[in-house]
């Protein structure tokens, strides 16, 4: 406010890449820096939420071009974990901003080549169904009921037991096999429009309440269809019965939890899985339980090295606490932790919360 040289630029032209109200929300206070896993890795603000919002603003006003290498790098280095949201005093919806960012940069040629086959695979309901055809997941040729279990695309293939165990816990869940992808993967990888469309279609295929076993899918679906219709499994079970699902055993295994980022930061669900776990074993809160494990949807595939660096701290803590089990509430975290635990040869078993509750008799 002092000299002409530092007078603010006249109100800059906007390119319309971002929704103005979302981008204007940020007051640049920097409170989000300590919450961000990628800032913790680099210590450079450019890789922080405030840094990225400033890159977005520079992009929006044309100060930086679309092909700026730092803009490109940071849009992909960001985990999209939304840990920056709950700490923000101004209520910045960073998750929405990063989706708009990638939608602009990656739609077309910019998208990392490694995610293209993934997006292709889940783009059509037929292909999604084909993916799970040889595995025994819960889906069958039944009609939707009042409450329907969503079958995650990759979960069907990688962890078919999860949906079966969810049905074991709650027989009233219908699981029609005729359902496609929720579109979260599209939305997080620069195909915002398609991501929303897929969510809408899934909402039509599964009228009534949708219960998901995956925090990432849950948050995306709730964002499109509304939180009344979409519930994550632990949230739904907890609301139905309180923390009484599953049978306690005499053994009382030591069990940790890896929060799903979008479940915790997007849907605000974190107490429920903890209380459910505490019923079947001794719950151990890992210091970084709430922090991203580095799985982050397709991140582990697109940026394996950074993903492993983010995971390291979690593995150190799991080893340090000498856990019997660690529970997950999202398929991506499942894969990430399972691989990490295997690499380190830890004795800890990784299980989805549904498996844990159904299996520990």
């Amino acid at each position: 406010m002092t000299t002409a040289a530092i007078a603010p630029d006249p109100v800059p032209e906007r390119r319309g890449v971002f929704t103005a109200e979302l981008l204007d929300r940020c007051i640049s206070c920097g409170f989000c820096l300590p919450a961000c896993p990628t800032y913790a890795l680099t210590g450079v603000e450019t890789s922080s939420p405030r840094g990225r919002i400033n890159l977005m603003r520079a992009l929006e006003t044309g100060v930086l071009p679309d092909d700026d290498p730092t803009v490109q790098e940071e849009s992909s280095f960001c985990l999209g974990c939304r840990a920056c949201e709950p700490v923000c005093p101004a209520g910045v919806q960073y998750g929405e901003l990063v989706e708009e960012w990638r939608d602009h940069l990656w739609n077309g040629r910019g998208r990392p080549w490694k995610v293209r086959p993934l997006l292709w695979a889940v783009d059509s309901p037929r292909r999604v169904r084909a993916m799970g055809i040889v595995r025994r997941h819960a889906g069958r040729g039944e009609a939707p009921g009042p409450v329907n279990l969503m079958l995650g695309c990759f979960e069907r293939v990688l962890y078919p037991r999860v949906s079966r165990d969810a049905r074991k816990l709650a027989g009233e869940l219908a699981a029609p096999a005729a359902q496609g992808c929720c579109g979260a993967l599209h939305a997080h990888n620069g195909e915002l429009g398609r991501g929303r469309q897929l969510a809408q279609r899934l909402g039509e295929a599964l009228p009534g309440t949708i219960v998901t076993t995956s925090g990432g899918c849950g948050a995306h679906l709730a964002g499109v269809l509304g939180g009344d219709r979409v519930k994550e499994l632990s949230q739904w079970l907890h609301a139905r019965d309180g923390a009484v699902v599953g049978n306690p055993t005499a053994a009382r295994p030591r069990i940790g939890l890896q929060d799903s980022c979008h479940l915790r930061h997007g849907l605000g669900v974190w107490r429920e899985p903890r209380e459910l776990i505490a019923r079947v074993g001794e719950y151990v809160e890992l210091p970084s339980a709430a922090g991203c494990c580095g799985g982050a949807g397709s991140y582990a595939i697109v940026r394996p090295q950074d993903s492993a660096r983010v995971l390291d701290r979690h593995l150190d803590e799991i080893a340090g606490a000498d856990l019997d089990l660690v529970a997950v509430v999202n398929a991506g975290c499942y894969r990430q932790l399972q691989q990490g635990v295997k690499r380190r040869r830890l004795r800890t078993r990784v299980l989805h919360l549904a498996e844990l509750l159904a299996g520990v008799k």
Binding site: T2, P8, P10, R25, G30, G43, L64
Partner: protein, 463 residues
């Protein structure tokens, strides 16, 4: 912002000091270090450097000094006076890699740490040994101890415990010419030489770069308790504050919200505030539980005597947290009203608070602005906060005019243009009005003695 290349050879020389990985000159990184928490101000640096040791800091300073390149020390960039905005370009020196707490001693009641330690980390390290580092700026989860000392940060506990300067025992600093000095140390009593550590406190990166701090700690209080009172107007609340202090109580917390803030908080947080009240006072005490009970009682009594319409003492920690929520939610609630939030810190003697806040409301009306005021009633530190839409170009101009009047009034009331946020770039033009020409000239001579080539944060304090 125009794009220009890095000055010839600068990058290579910096790399020789801190290593290739710790120099950034890519345009994207320069954008992200062109600003801090201050709205509207920015300037493109030439390079951003991340040193790990005092020797590396010295090496970078020698290069800057030799080439006459501005050097801007930076912690977490949360200051609100554009103190880290490189408006004349140059090197931004980020100190967050120097983030070790080297020692916390219960026996000596001192902590030694590097400047890039975050305030909360220092506080937690102290708490683990039953000790308290009292300065608690609202930004403590992000801001660095180096930044706190360089701004002489205040906080919510200042009335009882003082501000950052009251806890700085010793400083190691690198001069603009590259020499490393120490002032003070672990001693409570030490009068050898001018009190340079105090001079560096609040020097805003214009005199030297601090590379190690020795800080005083105090025993942690056993417990704390809180209460709140509504008043029909701010004048009554201010009288209650005077009555509290005259009653022999030195409270740890005395925070107020004006009517605009109460309304904004209730709209956003919906915590059941009485929006018809003219002012809300939040009071608190820490220490021995019996003393807390007695003091809360006395404060409640003082409020009632001065016409509080309702008074409440929190009976449980949860209730206390509810009471404090109103204050915590003030900035978040105001900032959600409009895209641009201008947070100021004009400060007046305690006895003039009501007068000042009424003036602020009058100025807001005259300039058609929305300004909510909250702050520290115990020490007169006000936070008039204007919210506006920058697309409305007129509004930014009106806000600047309004704050000019508010600062002038603060000076008239024997107050200051800044209680804790610093002069930086944005308040230099008001400083002479407060200090006078002779005082300004002395500041410039001090600055020149420390920094003969004027490379340290030029165009700010001391310029």
């Amino acid at each position: 912002m125009t794009t220009t290349a890095t000055p010839t050879g600068l990058r290579e020389r910096l790399e020789a000091v801190v290593g290739h990985d710790h120099v950034r000159t890519d345009e994207g990184a320069l954008v992200t270090f062109s600003m801090d928490a201050t709205p509207l101000e920015r300037g493109r640096p030439d390079a951003v450097v991340f040193p790990a040791t005092a020797d590396e800091v010295a090496g970078v300073l020698r290069i800057a000094n030799e080439r006459g390149v501005p050097l801007i020390a930076r912690g977490s960039g949360t200051n609100l006076s554009a103190g880290t905005v490189p408006h004349r370009g140059g090197i931004v020196l980020v100190l967050t890699r120097m983030n070790r707490v080297k020692e916390v001693s219960g026996a000596e009641l001192v902590a030694v740490c590097e400047p890039g330690v975050r305030t909360i980390e220092l506080a937690q390290a102290a708490a683990a040994k039953g000790l308290l580092f009292p300065p608690d700026p609202g930004s403590q989860s992000t801001a660095t101890v180096g930044g706190n000392v360089a701004e002489c940060a205040g906080g919510l506990r200042a009335l009882k415990y003082g501000v950052t300067r009251d806890y700085v025992l010793g400083v190691q600093a690198v001069l603009a010419t590259g020499e490393i000095i120490r002032s003070g140390g672990r001693l409570v009593k030490d009068v050898a030489g001018y009190d340079l550590r105090r001079l560096l406190c609040g020097s805003e990166g214009t005199l030297a770069v601090m590379t190690e701090l020795t800080l005083r700690l105090v025993p942690a209080p056993e417990a704390s308790g809180y209460g709140m009172a509504y008043f029909p107007d701010l004048a009554a609340a201010a009288r209650a504050v005077s009555r509290v202090l005259a009653s022999g109580v030195l409270p740890v917390t005395l925070e107020f919200l004006d009517q605009v803030c109460i309304g904004a908080v209730e709209d956003y947080a919906q915590i059941g505030l009485d929006t018809s009240a003219g002012a809300l006072l939040i009071f608190g005490q820490d220490g021995d539980p019996a003393v807390i009970e007695r003091d809360l009682e006395r404060m409640a009594q003082a409020c009632a005597t001065e016409g509080a319409t309702s008074v409440r003492i929190a009976e449980s920690p949860e209730a206390a947290s509810e009471v404090l929520e109103a204050r915590r939610a003030a900035l978040p609630s105001l900032s959600r009203l409009e895209p641009l939030t201008l947070l100021e810190d004009a400060t007046v003697p305690r006895s003039r608070i009501a007068e000042m806040v009424e003036y602020i409301q009058e100025v807001a009306r005259r300039h058609q602005l929305k300004i909510g005021t909250f702050g520290h009633a115990g020490d007169g530190n006000l936070h008039p906060t204007a919210v506006l839409d920058p697309a409305d170009e007129g509004a930014v101009g009106r806000a600047r005019a309004a704050f000019g009047e508010i600062f002038a009034r603060a000076i008239e009331l024997d107050g200051t243009i800044t209680g804790e946020h610093g002069i930086g770039l944005v308040k230099l033009r008001y400083l002479e009005r407060q200090l006078g020409a002779d005082h300004m000239a002395l500041l410039r001579r001090i600055k020149a003695a420390f920094d003969p080539n004027g490379i340290l944060n030029p165009g700010k304090l001391g310029s």
